[in-house]
Amino acid sequence: MSGARQLTRLLDRPRAFLRLHQSLTVIISAALVLTVLPYIATWYPFNGFGVQKDWVGGFADAGVFVLLAVGLNVVVGLAGLLDLGYAAFFAIGAYTYAYGASSFTGLHIPFWIMLVIGAAVAALFGLLLGAPTLRLRGDYLAIVTLGFGEIVPVVILNADAYTRGTNGITGLAQPDLYGLLGINGFGFTNPYLYFGTVVVIVAIAFIFLQRLQDSRIGRAWVAIREDELAAASMGINTVSTKLLAFAIGATTSGLAGVFYASKLGVVSPDQFGFTVSFTVLAMVVLGGMGNIWGVAAGAFVIFEIQHQGLKQLGAFIQGLNVPVVTLGPLKIDIGSINFINYQYLLYGLALVTMMLLRPEGLFPSRRRRLELHEDTDEVAELLADEMLEP
């Protein structure tokens, strides 16, 4: 106890520094992620799963989900609104990019401008959807967003004159730096540039969202989440504050959509189903609702488990040559299990378990933990710490 206590004392000063300079922390972390992650991928056992280039490509995709998760964190974690159609805004961002920068429309607006346009279009849809529904009882939002998330892919699928339906729109333009740093088009074969870009985008979103979270608006979100009636009587305009959270979530999702579309070079409706919304929700819940760092870590870990872990687990267990067990009519062949099929089952189990046993998530935000465990000693200590802070 005392040893651990001493260690935390020792770390107090750097921690205080980092807490004071949040944006600097984000920049340092982004630089670390940029340099260290590709390097780690060359270590044993990771180098056995794929070459560095593939890993970095995977990291770039993981970055998309980190972006999605920190955006949803504002909606679910801070404002306490359940958005189940998050992938719809992702789709809207991606299709906006497809319209703005592909041979399908003949427009070739630069990627960097499309980032802003895609985010704005997604925000617009967020406002259009949120404005009528956020006035209603809170859980109607869940069902309306669920419906919206279901409808957007259906509309994209059916309006094939405008979206090429199930074939999707192909030949999307690559981001381009116009000779800056000696780089022109990104090209599909070079994942490093995409990785760098997504880290920068995530870092900017991080700084922005963190500042927002600590602002008057951020406090208003938390107040609404905890007690809407009390927040309203404190003079907070609950509808517009909730709408802002919802729109910011949509904006982030749209941003992620533009990047994702540019990286894949193709958009089709099946990329944006409910499972995407569900996966991002699982990332937010597991990471720790309300804690942007926890959510980002949760998103990264889940993404890597989903895309590397389960595959490698399957290969590993197949390599063990577990004999087939026969119990009457039941044949258990562990070696032949395709673990990727189990991912949503695992997410479901994880969500339920987390909600029942550890609702604050694996990496909880301090405030959330205080709220959820007011009675325990450890928290009393934390509470004291919290009060001593300037």
Partner: protein, 343 residues
Amino acid sequence: MTAATPSVARPRMRMIPWRAPVAVVAALVISYLVIANAAGAQAQEQFINALTIGALYALIALGYTMVYGIIELINFAHGEIFMCGSFVAWWLITTMGFTGTIHDLPILVIVLVVVFLVSMLVMGVVGVIIERFAYRRLRNAPRLAPLITAIGVSFILQNLVFVGISNSIVKVPQLIPFDLLQIGPLAIREINLFVIVFAVALMIALQLFITRTRLGTAMRSTAMDREAAQLMGVNINSTIAITFFIGSALAGAAGVVQTQYLGNTVFNIGFQSGLKAFTAAVLGGIGNTTGAAVGGFVIGFLEVTSSVYGIGRWSEAIVFGALVVVLIFRPNGILGQQLADRA
């Protein structure tokens, strides 16, 4: 409705007696005319089709509305319970060795009774188990926690079927004949007649149960004010468990209807049907069992009408549009919601 203005449940149920039948007849006539306008010679068949699909949605919607009425939770897992019910029916029918229509009436009746009873019982028990282990602990937790749990449970059920039973469409033998019956001017297939009569009978039984029995009174009082009901000696836990049992059993029955009417089922059928049925519950006024039934028929009508008018692939968008329109202009639904005055 904002948190600051609690809604007052209007006693819409006690409509003046003559208005309800008139409204029902008027709605039926109008919907028939709308369908007939495009369907031509098939008008009657399509109209009956709409009623049948409506009955199916109504059965699912009842479970949503009952659970929402009593614990104010959107039970996302309810659609999956419907899906599981259809798989129970599939399993029973195939293990009993039936492969097609049964023309021998006594055998058909016995088989149907067995299939419906088992499916309803199994799903009822599953519903109670879900309530006991996933929702009960979170009854007083922040609103978000049970909602997320419900989503999680829904994914667990769906993927258990996906991994354990089948990852593609499963064909189910249809036991009830599709022969046309001529009742006066009305030509109706046996299956449609059965589904409509059966569903309406279940709904009437439910209505009688809720309004006439002690347990039904306990359910209504728990929905109105949980603490007060408890003080009056109502066992809250068992009342909520019974609500889940009945709602889930109705979804189980709907699952059997699905296999018998449409002849197939698939692991992800619960998601869309659940969404539509929830829309039906909101349309009718959430918490209101009559409203859920009405909403179910409205959704069935919308779906069939859109396919009759050649825009069937947009039916989901139309249903969803209807949901948003109702939420904006009449958030309490067609018949008004019956919820407690909880802000």
